[in-house]
């Protein structure tokens, strides 16, 4: 059974047809690379899955159950987490505080619920260990490398027991060494049985980490095939339209 199934998703903004009849499946633990030129509809598709937009037509189902998201909160409740391109972290707080932001565990002290830092530090250390990241829970995010910031953002999704993690250009603005770190993190998520949808422009990253590749062109899905049966040349052709479909 597929973890995430999109059936006939269309979305129009007034006269503009951003997506037309997109059907796509993602298996548990599968890493799907979503590719396409600017304006091809990748971000719209991700925003529909994340609950930011409602599709004009079509349905979304998770583990076989049809879901209907009105707000991002609804999607979060169904186990969908988004790692934003700018990572949405608070630089002035520690790694642990960021992982738990909005979900701080509390322990009553003299009847007053105070934040339980001991639990936060221990749990985040465990999550960073799962991700095999060297991030330390007490360090301020301001002092961290791009790879460590990614680890913090991804640890947030582990904390909420996500089923599906959507990642928008996670490797766009970081160094080569950090890219390798992030790709490792994606493997770790996949090892945990979490499905990942990766939006990226970087062909090598997509082929390094994705088991399947889907290509959007002008709002239409033109390919969805295993990565090992495709090639960067074919995908480039699909993105530009030199190759019609595959």
């Amino acid at each position: 059974m597929s973890r995430l199934r999109l059936t006939g998703i269309s979305k129009s903004f007034g006269a503009i047809q951003a997506l037309s009849d997109v059907s796509l499946e993602v298996a548990p633990g599968e890493v799907l690379g979503l590719m396409g030129d600017n304006g091809a509809g990748k971000s719209t598709l991700v925003k529909i899955v994340a609950g930011n937009f409602r599709p004009t037509h079509g349905s979304i189902s998770i583990d076989g159950d049809v879901v209907d998201f009105h707000r991002p909160r609804d999607a979060q409740r169904q186990g969908i987490e988004v790692v934003y391109q700018d990572l949405a972290l608070c630089d002035n707080l520690s790694a642990a505080s960021n992982v738990f932001l909005g979900r701080e565990p509390r322990r009553p002290f003299a009847g007053i619920p105070l934040i339980d830092y001991a639990t936060m530090h221990r749990r985040s250390a465990e999550l960073f260990a799962v991700l095999k990241s060297e991030t330390r829970p007490r360090d301020l995010v301001r002092r961290m490398s791009g790879g460590q910031r990614q680890a913090v953002a991804i640890a947030r999704t582990l904390l909420s027991n996500a089923k599906i993690v959507l990642m928008d250009e996670p490797t766009a603005a970081i160094s080569v060494r950090q890219v390798a770190e992030v790709l490792d993190l994606i493997h770790r998520l996949s090892d945990q049985g979490i499905s990942v949808v990766l939006i990226s422009h970087r062909m090598p990253d997509v082929f390094a980490v994705c088991s399947r590749i889907a290509v959007l062109r002008r709002g239409q899905l033109v390919a969805s095939k295993p990565a090992n049966q495709s090639s960067p040349e074919e995908v480039t052709g699909l993105i530009t339209g030199a190759i019609e479909t595959a």
């Binding site: 979060q76 949405a88 972290l89 608070c90 002035n92 932001l101 909005g102 105070l114 934040i115």
Partner: protein, 331 residues
């Protein structure tokens, strides 16, 4: 030989001593202590009991509001209306008391008036999305005008049946310490705990650090912003009530230009005007330094007209230091 990793971990985990030496609060405190020592040696009048009593009490008023201001600044906002909230609260309590109301009811009404000012500020900033600078600048004018309307712009110096109680609460002392100091110490300790150990405190700093991230993680950013401005106004309200008792009379120019002194105290104490940083202890020590300098100007016979110059320069210099530090860490 030290490897690069070791060098990095050394630079990230400084010893306690170097952490103290790197903290702004330490240096500001050192400056205040030095100024006190210099004044003790240079003048006969500084280290007198009466002068020290005045200094501690004056700085308590600024310190109280500076804690509220630090909270606002840490959340990435600014509150220019605190000086006017001071006079509004002082006027509400004095008008009610001179009309015969007991102290506690009048004090509650004064705090309610202050909270209402903060509530309107917060609603306009959080829900209408107006810039804090503009909203609170408007409120600076509106709240003071309201105080003038309330009192018909007259001085009030008779506070009805609880007259003595008000004067004792604001101007009296217990165990040799003026009462406003007790209020300040209580609030500083309380807020130090709240900032670090409560969700509300964490969210104040999260909003100041990255408001969009705070929203995305599901923090009720708007509600918290309203509560921050209410809190700031309440600290001004408490200071207004205490000042009414201290002065024994209330005029409509009470608290004029106090917002700048308070902002200067918060910024000198380490609150970052860009948001995300600040401590209650810093606000107190910033207020202390400003009051010592202000007092020294008077004792050294320098014209008090220079005060504004000092406070203005302090704000600019403190922000300049912050810029330099940011530039260095960006390298």
């Amino acid at each position: 030989m030290t490897t690069l990793e070791q060098a990095i971990s050394l630079s990230q985990h400084r010893s306690p001593v170097s952490r103290i030496l790197n903290s702004q609060i330490f240096w500001v405190f050192a400056a205040a202590v030095l100024a006190c020592l210099a004044l003790t040696l240079m003048t006969d009048s500084f280290a007198t009991q009466r002068n020290l009593f005045n200094v501690t009490r004056n700085f308590a008023f600024v310190g109280l509001i500076a804690i509220g201001m630090t909270t606002v600044i840490a959340s990435g906002g600014i509150d220019l209306s605190v000086g006017s909230t001071v006079v509004l609260a002082a006027m509400v309590i004095s008008v009610l008391m001179s009309a015969g109301s007991p102290f506690w009811i009048s004090a509650l009404a004064a705090l309610a008036a202050a909270a209402a000012v903060g509530f309107v500020n917060g609603l306009l900033i959080a829900y209408v999305g107006m810039p804090p600078f503009v909203v609170t600048l408007g409120m600076l004018s509106a709240a003071r005008s309201l105080a003038m309307v309330l009192s018909n712009n007259k001085m009030i110096w008779e506070f009805g049946p609880d007259h003595d109680l008000l004067l004792w609460i604001g101007g009296g002392s217990t165990l040799g310490l003026p009462h406003p100091i007790y209020a300040l110490v209580f609030l500083a300790v309380l807020m130090s705990i709240v900032y670090r150990w409560t969700r509300w405190g964490q969210y104040v700093f999260a909003i100041g650090g990255n408001e969009q991230a705070a929203t995305l993680t599901g923090i009720p950013v708007k509600r918290i912003k309203v509560s921050i401005y209410v809190f700031s106004a309440l600290t001004a309200g408490v200071a207004g009530i205490l000042m009414a008792g201290w002065l024994g009379s209330v005029t409509t120019n009470l608290g004029q230009a106090m917002e700048l002194t308070v902002i200067a105290a918060a910024v000198i104490g380490g609150a970052n005007l860009a948001g995300g940083q600040g401590t209650a202890l810093g606000a107190v020590i910033g207020a202390l330094l400003i009051e010592v300098i202000r007092n020294s100007l008077i004792l050294l016979g320098i014209s008090t007209f220079w005060q504004g110059m000092f406070i203005g320069s302090f704000i600019i210099i403190a922000v300049a230091f912050d810029r330099i530090r940011n530039l260095r860490s960006a390298d």
